[in-house]
Amino acid sequence: MKKISLTVLILIIITLYSSISFADKKKNIDHITKNLRCLICQGQSVYDSQSDFALSMKKLIRIKIKEGNTEDEIYNFLKEKYGEWVVYEPEVNKNTIFLWGLPLILFIFGGLLIIRKVSIK
């Protein structure tokens, strides 16, 4: 009896573990493809698109994850092939520094204006 319950317990643990790891992988693929631009369908991510290009890209990402590649390695591989444009979130570099810095500058400037207004009152 004990043996049977132990076997059932092990089976339940294996099933739970495999379903959790499958869900994690699926979540990871979805996360990566949502951050990739479909290059032939403007305004859509690879995740959203059903184009041939996006379907092949999803399949390749699945293969890369299976091979043990990390998220960053996959982005770098695709950036090397298609350039920075393929990723939705651009890296901070000399071309994008204004893009990243402007909201911060405006935020600080606005904050200073509000502080001054309040302190004058």
């Binding site: 290059l39 403007q42 092949s56 399949k59 298609y82 204004f98």
Partner: protein, 174 residues
Amino acid sequence: MKNNKIFYFVVILIVAIFFVLLLGLKKEKNYSPQSDLKKLNNSISLKELYSGKNIFLNDLLLTNELNLINIWASWCLPCKAEHPYLINLNVKFDINLIGINYKDNLDNSKKFLSDLGNPYDEVLVDSDGTKSIELGAIGVPETYLINNENKIIKKFIGPLDQDDYENIINLIKK
């Protein structure tokens, strides 16, 4: 006086942002391939169309002449339009032409080549499109000119036309 300074600062800032956005609007939005030389990934292996044998793409590239990789499919109409240019290149010039058949029915692709002529020295099969992604392709037809160091020196997205054909000939003659 201070209010004036803030006013001018805000106006200058808005004008600057306006011009930045205007420049952004004029920028090409469609994907265009990078022009810098990229070495081919040497781990790309594909099946040969007729024998079904696995072949590494790098093993097919020649070092004594230019290599042209053409991604095509029998269901792709623009591929039919560029086919005569490929036939001419193969007949008239010393160029190593490799065809990659993209997401196609193998019988249809063989029929396509027997009907229109086979310009390729080797025909490989990319049945799920992943190998083409590894090459940096976005669809069919696409053509890459590769030098003797296995570097992509020119990418042609879309069907080859007369200008592209002449461009390739000039590069062969160089």
